[in-house]
Structure formats: structure tokens, C-alpha cells
Symmetry: C2
Subunit: 376 residues, 2 copies
């Protein structure tokens, strides 16, 4: 890794930012071409959602109902709901990437749907493995419908992802499925790492970045290239778009890790100090621990004691705030914000290797900017 | 369904066969061409196993170890083991089906490996969903390595199955993956039906057959055609071979259901009256309940009482034997044996639609004969 954790004793170059403040980021790069990010996200959502719903409708009962609950289309009682479908960055990227090849955005739709199916397959299984009871402000599937349905419907969504692509019957669909399969394997590797890290005393910054690359980078890489692959792009183009998406994923995750500690609960929908409550060894934490110096050492002692504490769940707001302050003092917050900027820059420069219309490139840039300035 | 459960009051045309006796079947059809079934099974196993092991070795730790335990290659302590790899009918069929097109049996190997990976993905997940603690005479993966590893490694094997096929990079591989995906969806549908039937008071013969077609027929169908697809067979040929495999799967399952009640524990490795102990609504049971007549009605009353009994697990050998005798008296045993013969006949006749060397056809026939006369 070219980019090291903050050195011990390094002067704090950042202010006294508090929870809820916007994460410091680059200014939007695309000032000359105005891009409406909201419209880009909406286009992806509008194109992908009907096809996604039709795919999920193919599932045999009761799996169709369980999946519809997971996606937020119905509530636990089976009544229609207007759930939070998330930011929909992946579908926006998938349909945009089709335009790299000069194809219509619609060409990317089966790719957008397949990526969303794989993403949600992994959420269903990860929530069960991790014992997470809440997702998108609602009870998780295993909580509502039981572990067997979470396993089964996850499996079904994974199979459906391949089906949606392969039924196109084209050579391009085969190539897209192969890339999606690689991304899925990385996703599974990342979850395996995440589980094993939980039981370990210390995790290095490199290990954390590798895990985040697998859990977040790989599928965003696939989302950013799959439309182009379906549009007939060659491997070099697809690889460059994957690089864009992979590094964008790492930027996305760095921001997520910042929001997981300092995010505004009203915006994120999570508890205050959410990742600290879960003892997550996220980037700010591992960077702070790796930094050395008095604050880093004190943090290490406190977290080691926390790991053995039986009273951890009853900790007060102030106790978590004190830990967050130590992470910040040791440089973990600034290092992670800098890491987000660094990964954002690598993502943008990966686009240089791909010939595409200016409008499409501006849209990729605007989506990258959006990912690093978001508050949720 | 053209074939109805035994009618009420129909005279028993079968003898007083007891547990451990060979299930009555058709005589081997291929008397004119001597086929060594043991050699066919061994060929499939010998060709597929090294490639399967190499694929599993690609998994990141600890998933590689967990998978190796599941396949019986190592024991729970990590020492090399020589586990029971099963009968290996699927790999034998997959490599044989390549020869339909005049290709070498090796052409079918990636298909054989992919089918085995999907089969074992489903075993890992099904054992966890069903709470089964034993498989192939050993503790199941979730018992030894925990539920999270069972989910994760199952997911990884499913992804690996697609990878093994799609990395061939051919149009045929795309077609093979699409067929495998359909089979996997059917497998998942079958497990969903199996789970929902457990909670139901009664299951019809048709529902039971549909479930068994999904859980057993679909993947055997894929195994019987995937080598041919990889060898360039057209869709009509692949469809006919799938029909052979699907009906062979139903014959296989009918025999399995007979062995699940009347099988010899020394041969099956299961407890006596295994399926009865698990309250499985298998074919002999549902056929007996559907038959009508005094024995059928008495059986229905007893099983309804059993379902509410809190003492069921302490039932004696004699109590299970009495239930098995009633199932037999109501005609459930003979109906299921007849169903195995009927499905065997349909499977063999599906081969008529496919031009293939006599030697290959004789081998398909011999494997079908083997499936219905096996004792385990």
C-alpha cells in the first residue's frame, strides 16, 4: 500500500469536526459539465426496478413474498410498502456503463438487475451469519421469516441473477455472467474475512482494505462494467471500468466507515456511534490503532478492555464519544477521509483508459463525487 | 399423472417382503451388451475428482478446509480422510453424455464438476435448514464448523460451479451454465416445497412427485445432458437427455424412499425405519394415505396422532415396524416400487429420441438399471 496510516505524533491537520458534519471531500470535479446526479440515480432505479420485480415474481411461493419483504415492497403482514430502496448507485452505474459502448442505457438493465440480485443475496445471508436484526430500518428477513427462508431466498436470488443474464443467450451475457461470478466469489471471500477478523485481536489496515475491496469494491466494479460488457465492450475497456468501480467502492466504504462512527443518525438511520457499538474493526479504528503515539496506545488499551467487558452494551453516549474522540486524536478519522479522497482520485483516473462520450464520462465523475460527499 | 395411487381394497399382489430385502425392479434391460457399471462409475469419479479437488482448493481459507471436510477428504481435526464420496452416478452420467456427441468423456468433466458443486452446495444449506446432524456417517458441516460456515461455503461452491463452466469461455459453456442455473432453481424450489410440506397435515402424491422431481430429477437431468451440451449437442438432444435424467431421478428417489423405510441399515448407513422416525411424507407414505381402505385409514389416524405425540422420539422398533406394515398393507410399498419401474421405463424410452453409439446407449441403460436395483 502506497498510502500509510498516520505517523505517530503527526500534527492534527483537521479541525474539530463533530458527528453529523459532512465528511471533508474533494470539490466536484465536473464543473464544466453540469450533471444531475439525482436524475442519474432515478434513471437507473426506474429502468431496473420493474425488471427486478418481474424477476423476483418468478420465485415460487413463499419465496416471492419473502423476497418482496426484503426489498421493502411489502411489509411483514404482506401489505404493499414503499420501502427505502437505497441509493441505487449500482443500477445507475450499470445502465450508464452500457452507454460507454454507444449502446442504449436499456442494454445495461439485465446487468443492473443481476448485480442487485447478487447484492441482495449477500445481504440476506450476511445478516443471518452476523446476527443483524435490522436492515434499512426494518427487521431482517431471518428475524421475520426465520433462518431457513433467509438461506433459501438468498440462494434463489443468486440463481436468479445468473438466469436473468444467461437467458439473453448471447456471448456477451456469458462474459457478463463470468465477471459477475468473479465478483460474487470476492464478496464471499470478503464475508469470510469479515467473520474471521471478528475473532481476532488486531487487524491491519491492509487486511481491512482487502476485506472492504472484496465486500464493496468487487460488486461496484462489476456494476460499473457490466452494461459495457453487455454492449459488446472488449476486455480492456471492461477491466478499466472495473478499476473505476473497484476504487470507487473503496472510497464508498471509507465514507461508510466514517458515517458508521460520526454519521448523523437522522440521515443514516443508524444509532449514534453505530460501528463502535458493534465493535467493528473499521478503517478509522484500524488506522488509529496502527498510527502509534499516546492516543493510539490509549485507544488500544480501552478497546482491549471493551472486548472483555460484560457491560459493553450498557455504555453511555459519553463513553462512546470518548472512544470516537481518541480515534480522531490518533488520526484515524482524517486518515480515512484522506483514503476516501485517494481512492476517489484513482477511480476517476481509471476512466482515462476508456474512450467514451464526454457526457458519459461526466456522469461517471459526478457519481463518484456523489459517493464521497453523501451523508448516508 | 397417468399413474394413480393404489385403489381402495385392491388385492395385495406383492409378498411379505421385509426390511433389507432388495426392492423389486425390472431385470437389467441390456443383456445383449455387457456393461460394467462399476467401471462406468469409477471412470466418472476418477475423471471428476481431481478437477473437483483443484476447484475447491481455490477457495480462500478457512472455506477450503470446511469444504474438504464436507467432501470427506479430511476429518474434523484436519487429517486426511478417505470419506465415502457417494455412488457418483452424476459424474458418470456427465462424462458419458459427452460421448453422445462423439466427444471424449473428458469434455464432460467441467460439467460433472459443476453439477457436483451445485449438489454439495444444496446439501450444505439443506442440512442446516433441516437441522440434520449427520450426513454420509459423519457430523454435518454446520454441526462441526457452525452455521455461518455452512452458509458461506455453500454459497462459495455455488459460485465455483458457475466459474468452472464459464471460464471455458465457449458458447457451449454459456448454454451449459444456463441449464445448470435452471436445475439449481428447481433444486431450491424443491427444498422450499419440502420445508412447507413439513408443516402441512397432508401432502398429495402429485405434490410429493413434483417436489422429488425438483429436488432429485432436475439435477440428474442436468448431469445427463451437460457433457453433451459441452460437446456441442443441439437443444433437442440436450432436452431428450434431460428427460432421461429427470425420470431416472424420479426412479432414483422412489427407490430412495423405499430404502428410507425398508432399507438395510448396514447398507444404507441410516437407522432402521429412518424416514418414519423423521416423519417424512415420502412416496410410500403419501401413496398409502391416498389409497383409501381400512389400512390406509388406520394409518392416517396413527400418523395424525404421532404428529401430536410428545413421546414420538422414544417409540420402539415394534411401533415403527407396525407403521411400516400398515403402509405396506395399504399398498404404499408396492405402488412406490411400481412407480420406480414406471419412471425407469420412461427414462429409457427418452433415449430413443437421441442418436448415439450403441455402446453409449447401453451404458445409459445400465446406469438406469443400477439406480433401481441399488441397496443403498
Amino acid at each position: 500500500m502506497a498510502h500509510h496510516p498516520p505517523a505517530a505524533g503527526r500534527p492534527r491537520t483537521f479541525g474539530t469536526a463533530t458527528r453529523g458534519e459532512t465528511v471533508p471531500t474533494v470539490p466536484p470535479a465536473s464543473t464544466e459539465t453540469a450533471v444531475d446526479v439525482t436524475a442519474l440515480l432515478e434513471r437507473g432505479r426506474n429502468l431496473a426496478t420493474p425488471v427486478l420485480r418481474a424477476a423476483v415474481d418468478r420465485l415460487a411461493p413463499p419465496m416471492d413474498t419473502v423476497a418482496a419483504y426484503h426489498f421493502g415492497w411489502i411489509d411483514a403482514a404482506g401489505n404493499p410498502a414503499d420501502g427505502d430502496g437505497g441509493k441505487a448507485v449500482r443500477p445507475a452505474l450499470a445502465v450508464l456503463s452500457a452507454e460507454v459502448t454507444g449502446a442504449a442505457p436499456e442494454t445495461g438493465v439485465p446487468g443492473a438487475v443481476a448485480v442487485e440480485l447478487v447484492h441482495n443475496f449477500s445481504l440476506l445471508h450476511d445478516d443471518l451469519m452476523d446476527g443483524d436484526e435490522q436492515r434499512r430500518h426494518r427487521d431482517t428477513v431471518w428475524k421475520v421469516h426465520g433462518p431457513a427462508q433467509a438461506i433459501l431466498v438468498g440462494d434463489a436470488l443468486f440463481a436468479l441473477a445468473n438466469e436473468v443474464l444467461l437467458e439473453l443467450g448471447t456471448v456477451e451475457a456469458g462474459r457478463a455472467t463470468r465477471r459477475l461470478t468473479c465478483a460474487t466469489r470476492a464478496l464471499i471471500d470478503g464475508q469470510a474475512q469479515d467473520i474471521s477478523y471478528e475473532h481476532r485481536e488486531s487487524v491491519s489496515v491492509e487486511e481491512c482494505l482487502e476485506m472492504e475491496g472484496n465486500k464493496t469494491g468487487a460488486l461496484l466494479a462489476c456494476a460499473s462494467s457490466i452494461g459495457a460488457v453487455l454492449g459488446g465492450a472488449d476486455d480492456a475497456t471492461a477491466d478499466a471500468l472495473e478499476r473505476y468501480g473497484y476504487h470507487l467502492g473503496l472510497a464508498f466504504q471509507a465514507v461508510d466507515d466514517l458515517l458508521g462512527i460520526w454519521g448523523d443518525p437522522d440521515a443514516t438511520g443508524k444509532q449514534t456511534w453505530s460501528d463502535l457499538r458493534q465493535r467493528k474493526k473499521s478503517l478509522p479504528v484500524v488506522a488509529a490503532l496502527a498510527a502509534g503515539g499516546p492516543a493510539s496506545e490509549r485507544l488500544g488499551e480501552i478497546l482491549a478492555a471493551d472486548a472483555k467487558s460484560s457491560d459493553f452494551e450498557n455504555f453511555s453516549e459519553e463513553e462512546f464519544a470518548a472512544r470516537a474522540a481518541l480515534i480522531e486524536e490518533a488520526g484515524g478519522r482524517e486518515w480515512t477521509a484522506e483514503e476516501a479522497r485517494r481512492q476517489h482520485t484513482i477511480a476517476i483516473s481509471a476512466l482515462d483508459a476508456v474512450g467514451m462520450p464526454d457526457r458519459v464520462r461526466a456522469a461517471f465523475t459526478a457519481l463518484a463525487d456523489f459517493v464521497v460527499v453523501r451523508k448516508r
